[in-house]
Structure formats: C-alpha cells, structure tokens
C-alpha cells in the first residue's frame, strides 16, 4: 500500500544487535572514550527523541483530555472517554471496515498480480529490463500528485475514464468518485496502479536469490514446472511473501496522501481512512484530544499487529529478512 514517507515501509525484522558479539570482537585497541561515543550518538538520538518519540508519548497523554489545542496545556482530564467514544464512532468503525476491505483486496488481487508479473519478468525475454523499469514508475511519483492526476482522470461528466470506456464501446456516465458504493474500489484500483511495481520488485529480488542449481537438479530428477513452482519457488519465496504481506497491511493502516487528495475521504466518508478521520478531527475541528486518541488507536493497531506478525509469522525470517539470509554481510 502506502506509507507516509514513500520509502519508509520496512518491517521490524531487526534483531537486537550484538548477541553474537561480533562487533565487540572486532573492536580495535583504540577504544573511544564515553565522550566520543556520546558525541557520535547524540545528534541522532536528540532528533529521534524530540520528533519521533516525544510526539507519540504526547499523543498518548493528550488522548485522555478534552482539548482544543489552544491556551496552554490540556487540563480537562476525561479518562478513557475519548477512547470510549471512538469505538462508538461510526466513522471510525467504518474506517476499520474499509481498511479491512482494502487489505483483503490487496492480498487477493494486488500481491498475486505483482507476484505473477515478477515470475514473468524473471524469465529471459528481450525487453524485460524495460518492462521492469516501466512497471516501477508509478511508485516513484508522489502520492499527492498521483491523487490529483486520477481526480482528473475520473472526473465527472465524460472525463478521461468515461471516454476510454466509450472507445471500447461502453457508453457510461459513471460517478467514479462520487458513487458511495464504487469509490473504494476505484481507490483500490489506483493503489494497485501505484504500488504493484514496488511489490513486483521485491518479489523479483526474492526470486533472484533462489539458486538456479536447485531448478537444474530438479529438472534432472524429472520434476515438472508445476512441481518446481510449488516445491522450490513458493517455499523459498516465503520470507519475501511474508514481508510484502506485512508491508501491504501496515501501508493500508496509515493510508492518507493519495485518498485525501483524491476524494478527501468522501463522499459521505465512503473512502475515508483512519488518518483522514484523524486529520479532520484534529486539524479541522480542533478536537485535539479525540484525534490524539485516534492516533493512539492507529498506533496500537499497527504496533500490536507488527509484534504479533513478527512473533508468529516472521520468526523464521528474522535473520535474513527479505531474501532469506546470507545476503547481508555482517549479520548472521
């Protein structure tokens, strides 16, 4: 799906650093003093504490107040009331439902599509490099700019999309972005356009890490293509598949830019996401306490999911992440 900074989506497959003690064994004689070490770490740490950690903690605190964000620190403590209201809020519940729907469609349509194309582009055909380059292009574009572009494509009253259908002999005047029952599917189509290339590239990288000797050996043993796919390709692509599923789900949870620019979450919340609800409550209605509670809910959803996923699904992949170990120099 997406992530706020285009390039951040990476799962927490990190393992605490020095259990293997490698770094310490490499430590040379000239050991830096505590002051030097602190100087190396301080700029990054200050930046991180101030702009990443502090906001999260601050949101957790503000979530327990009724606060419009003005006139000094929050004072009207209301306990869990914001959270209680949240789980009764039909917009928020709708957000959850829509996120679930987008995740389901991504897993059933978008990822398999990317996987299939990766398998195709892995084979040696003239021109495959160009196709690979091309399919990745949408991922490089800003989500907001993509949103504007598709708003024009799906505009009302014979927009480009309608003209395109007309050229195929289908006369239509569809309210692509104004039909409540349709808009989420249009959004999903655009998300697929934007992100399938990213997943395809990850699958290609995963596929390229499978040694060809395995296929040669299997061919000598008389394995069919289908057998090779189900016994070699699929299992060895496991780590990559699990990571892409993770990225897709986390991306869907934080979806904002594209949808906000495209539809603003409308019509009547039909394409609204959690982040859009948060933005509206916090920045447009000044319900800072309530929006903070929503932020914390988003955080808990992604955090609990990430922990759960890491614990039960990614556990076998922790060492190598995407490409199954061995590719990362220092760690083993």
């Amino acid at each position: 799906m997406s992530a706020a900074p285009t390039t951040s989506p990476v799962p927490p497959v990190e393992r605490p650093a020095g259990r293997d003690g490698k770094a310490s064994r490499r430590r040379p004689a000239g050991r830096p003093g505590a002051g030097t070490l602190a100087a190396f770490i301080a700029p990054g740490l200050v930046l991180f504490l101030l702009f990443v950690l502090a906001p999260i903690i601050f949101a957790a605190y503000v979530g327990f107040f009724r606060w419009n964000g003005l006139g000094g620190p929050p004072t009207d403590f209301i306990g869990f009331e914001n959270f209680a209201n949240l789980i009764k809020d039909s917009v928020f519940l709708g957000d959850l439902w829509r996120v679930g729907l987008i995740i389901a469609m991504s897993l059933v349509i978008q990822l398999p599509l990317a996987f299939g194309l990766a398998m195709l582009l892995h084979q040696r055909f003239p021109g495959r490099t160009i196709f690979r380059l091309l399919f990745f292009v949408p991922y490089v574009l800003a989500e907001a700019v993509t949103g504007v572009l598709f708003r024009l494509i799906f505009s009302e009253r014979r927009g480009f999309a309608d003209s395109l259908l007309a050229s195929l002999g289908v006369e239509s005047d569809i309210g692509w972005l104004s039909d409540r029952s349709l808009v989420l599917f249009v959004v999903f189509g655009i998300l697929t356009w934007k992100f399938f290339g990213f997943y395809m590239i990850l699958y290609l990288a995963g596929r390229q890490n499978i040694p060809e000797e395995l296929y040669e050996a299997a061919a000598i043993d008389g394995a069919t293509n289908r057998q090779m796919f189900s016994r070699i390709t699929l299992p060895l692509m496991g780590p990559t598949l699990r990571i892409t599923i993770f990225l897709s789900i986390i991306g869907a949870v934080q979806l904002f830019d594209l949808v906000f620019v495209l539809t603003g979450g409308g019509p009547f919340h039909a394409s609204e996401t959690m982040a859009i609800t948060m933005y509206e409550q916090g920045f447009q209605r000044n319900q800072i306490g309530y929006a903070s509670a929503l932020s914390i809910a988003m955080f808990l959803i992604s955090f609990v999911f990430a922990l759960f996923y890491q614990r039960y699904v990614l556990k076998r992949d922790l060492q190598g992440g995407l490409t199954g170990g061995g590719s990362n120099g220092g760690d083993r």
């Binding site: 900074p5 650093a17 000239g30 050991r31 999260i56 084979q123 800003a142 590239i201």
Partner: protein, 281 residues
Amino acid sequence: MPVVNSKRGNLLRNTGFYIAAFITTAFVATPILFALLGGFKDNAQLRENALGLPNPWNVENYTDTLASDVFWRQAFNSALIALATTFIVVAASAMVAFAFARYAFRGREVLFTLFATGLMFPFAVAVLPLFIILRTMGLLDSPLGVILPQAAFGLPLTIIILRSFFRAIPGEIEEAAVIDGAGPWRFFLTILLPMARPALATVSVLALVGSWNNYLLPLVVLNDASLWTLPLGVDQFSGQYASDTAKVLAFVMMAMLPALLFYGFAERHLISGLTSGGTKG
C-alpha cells in the same frame, strides 16, 4: 528455468509473455500519457478528442508552467527541503550507525532497539502531536519544521542499513588506521565514509525521494504559500484552475518530471535501497 523443447511451446510462451507485459504497460502508461498529452491539448480537445494525439499541439500550458514563478519556487522549496533532510538524516545516522557497528558499550542493545522500533511508528500517528510540538518550538511555517521531523523519521531505516554495511567492513582496516594514529573521528570521516559510498548513495536516494514526495507534514506545517512544496502546490493549483484541466495536466506533468528523471538517473540505488530496506537486518 522451465525447459521448453518444442518450437510451438516457445512461441506460446513468448506470446503469453508479451501479451501480459503489454497489457500491464498500457495499464501503467495510460494515466501518465494522459497527463503528458493532455497538457498539449486545450480544453475543447480534451472533451472532443480525449484519446487521440493533440491536434494542434498546444505548448502554451507547458510554457506557462515553465514561465511561472510559482512552479519554480515550489520546485526550489521541494529541492531545498529534500537536500537538507537528506544531509541531516544521513550524517546523523552514519554517526549513530558507526557507534553501533564498531563499538561495544553499555546500553547499545537498548538504544538500537529503540531506534529500530521507530520503524513501527506510522508517520500519520505522530503528525498531530508533532504539529503541537513544532508550534511550541516556533517551527511552523519554517522549512526546518518539515526538515527536522522528516530527518528524524528517516533515522531508523537509515541506521539499520548503514549499520549492517559498516559491520561488514573488516576490523583490520580500523586496526591499521589506529596503529597509524587515527582516532575514531578521523577513521570515520576519512576511511569509513569514503568506503561506504555505495551504501550512503542508497540511503541518500531513499531520503531524497521520501522527502520530495512527502505531503502530510508540509500540509500541516507550511501555511505560507511561498514555502509550499510541489505536492502541496499541485493540489492547490488543481483547485485554483479546476475549470482548466489542460493547464492542470501540464502542471501535474511538470511536477512529476523531476521524480521521473531522478528515477531514470538513480534507479539502481533506489531499487537496491528499497529491496535492502526489507533485507538488511
């Protein structure tokens, strides 16, 4: 590789490949071509001749965009913010990653885990409290209000990638440097960083693209239109000229162009960064 013996099998396979590849190409390229060609049409053409080539080709929308202060100012703002973000995140991350990769010290595991958990904080979660913190610090309507948080959110991934790269550099090199009398700073600046150029290029490209495309943070931080970046500008422009679709398409195309050129130029680094982002541990 599946072994296909017969000529007919080969032909079928090739045809299947190219059909799938061309359908996907059409899927990917159509919206971009719509913007590119639409910018060369006028609005009457966009209505009457939505699918064909422009006739006549109308360059006015593009020349207007190229001649407008607004476009260049927004491109400049985007570039300034992206370059500053990249410099800060890469410099700060390289120093932290160096300490993590090459030295054992108490609290290293805790600190590293702290940074790594940062990967699980969706940016949207932080944006509202971040806004209030930036307001308190007087950083609203300042490029720094975008630059510093972007750099901070870029730290976890950059540290993780650089750390694993630094760890792979043999300890002997450092020992030799120490024997020659180099302290940690000199080793870091004059030996390690030059050796790490490929990894630095990769993380820089990731940071540049991430910043260039960012929308949510500039949206809440930058109120003053003269500070806006391209993604904000495109959105605003499309609202301002809502009835002049061709003009908006030219602006959209021009806003996409830097990213496309940059992708063509740094494709290798971008892709290796994205794949290693999920790989390196």
